[in-house]
Amino acid sequence: MLSIEGLSVVFGGVSALSAVSFEAMPGEVVGIIGPNGAGKTTLFNAIMGLVSVNSGSVHLEGKDITGWPSERIALAGIQRTLQTPQVFQQISVMDNLIAAGIAPKRPILTWAAFRLPTVRRFEIDAKIRAAAELNQSLLREEGHKLAGDLSFGHQRLLEIYRALMLNPKVVLLDEPLSGLTTQESQVVLELVRSMRAAQRTVLLVEHHLPSVLSVADRVVVLAEGQVVANDRPEVIQRDDTVMRVYLGEEDMGIETTGLL
């Protein structure tokens, strides 16, 4: 379980997050919506240890992980993807996945050059897991391609597959649908559902409201760094305050849903 309590982040006197609290269970998909500048990405960065937290705490399965370095938080079981996908461009898609299988072991590369059995063992393990993951993925035909040569949408997918190589308990997806084709978006939403089935916790920041409402079990609405609503999607949908927060700022594809 991921539990966030009274989380506040201040950037140079400006409050980006103030006293944000909510919980997310294993096997639960929590949509996080709100206008630009509401603090969604800051929230992810704060959970992940990429920005320093002024007050409040983040607990993962009862363990206080606030203030831990990002790599330690990653090892504890939280993964996030970034708005601009960060794939390792000059190695193959397969090697991107392998890298994610090996990195947690923090190998000495010199031992790898000499193929020492200690390193070799988890290299082979990572290779097998990467091949299995690749085979089930949309990128199965592109395993040998350089990651930098993939289309934008496929780079996004690769980043998600790479995050899953670490077998995370919690996955933070930062606008995973933006820039994707309809078909790719379906694949991502399907992935989110399978993460839920695998008892992972998913936090989903996404501008495309219909997608969030269709996949999320619960929706947290952020505005100006504060939680203004936290409820089931169908309740959020009928909430006037929420819709005003949204429509007041910009139209986030709401018209595409017809009424809302």
Partner: protein, 339 residues
């Protein structure tokens, strides 16, 4: 453009096997040694020593994506270790060589703790400062012989003392071993982490690995290889003074790395060869025109080479050659296509 060494299925094509490539390099070196005259052998010994240094730099700079402008400092540490141990203490130069590599490794490890958190330009300046401090230390200390340096540095010997040709063999065996080590590392599964660090430090952290660990290891490796080259250099030449291990040497090493292609192990050999031999040739031509013009012409042309290479083959000569059949793909961050 970058080539993809491993296919999905795994094994490298046979001509990319690290052992075969290293062996091929060794065979070329042996043929060179047998066929070429003594002045060429000396010239190619220098090429080999620099290549050894640049192979390490390519791991740190090309593959791990960092910058070092202070490699002359590590080269000097290796050289002075052999120099001091054989002239001040009468120990074996082999011991000096090991000591130099050890000291350089420890210095790089400590320095890495301090400076590797810095990003590109700042890191470059920090390593530049290290190189300068090392040079000042070589000048100022009495144990290093101050400005007059050290003379009468001991020869390596294995039963018999090394001849000029023996140094040539020794150096190129070391180059082949270093190239073997570097290609094996780059092509290993764990070698993918080098590109992870170069490509995105944030994404590397998100995989649970602190990128500083990888950077520091490559920095230490590059320092040890530079010290190894420096130690062999000192013993081969027989005398050293601080004017050898200057900022100019560091810059020349970077130039060689860039010309050959920083993301290529054998690019190191090509880059050093092109820069060094062209430089020597021009020096000779310059001397014929006017005795004073030699050095100046060499420097001018180094500048020109750098400009031309950056303009036409920004990824280095060997990478350009490797990519000649391949549709080049421009390495750029993916554009933020968002709604």
């Amino acid at each position: 453009m970058a080539t993809n060494p491993r296919t999905k299925e795994g094994p490298l094509s046979w001509w990319r096997w690290p052992s075969l490539q290293a062996l091929a390099l060794l065979i070329i070196a042996i043929l060179g040694g047998l066929l070429l005259g003594p002045s060429w052998v000396s010239e190619l010994t220098v090429v080999g020593l620099y290549a050894l240094t640049v192979i390490g730099m390519n791991l740190f700079m090309g593959y791990a994506g960092q910058v070092s402008l202070g490699q002359a400092g590590f080269f000097g540490i290796g050289a002075y270790s052999v120099g001091i141990i054989t002239t001040q203490y009468q120990f074996s130069p082999w011991l000096g060589l090991l000591a130099g590599m050890l000291i350089a490794g420890v210095v790089a490890w400590l320095l890495g703790k301090l400076v590797l958190k810095l990003q590109t330009h700042y890191l470059a300046l920090a390593t530049l400062a290290f190189g300068m401090i090392a040079n000042v230390a070589f000048q100022a200390l009495s144990i290093t012989g101050g400005n007059s340096g050290l003379t009468g540095i001991g020869n390596f010997s294995l039963g018999v003392s090394f001849s000029n040709t023996d140094y040539y063999w020794f150096v190129w065996i070391l180059v082949a071993l270093a190239a073997w080590y570097a290609t094996r590392m780059v092509h290993s599964e764990s070698g993918s982490l080098l590109e992870a660090v170069r490509s995105s430090e944030v994404a590397t952290k998100l995989m649970g690995l602190n990128p500083d660990q990888v950077k520091r290891e490559m920095f230490v490796v590059s320092a040890i290889l530079a010290a190894l080259a420096g130690g062999v250099y000192a013993s081969w030449i027989g005398y050293i003074d601080p004017t050898v291990f200057t900022f100019t040497l560091s810059i020349n090493l970077v130039l060689m790395a860039v010309v050959g292609g920083m993301r290529s192990v054998y690019g190191a050999v090509v880059g050093v060869g092109v820069v060094q031999l062209l430089g020597q040739g021009l020096n000779t031509v310059g001397q014929m025109i006017s005795p004073a013009a030699g050095g100046a012409l060499e420097l001018t042309v180094y500048g020109l080479i750098l400009v031309v290479v950056m303009m036409f083959w920004p990824n280095g000569l060997i990478t350009a050659w490797k990519g000649r059949y391949r549709q080049s793909s421009v390495v750029s961050p993916p554009s933020a296509v968002s709604d």
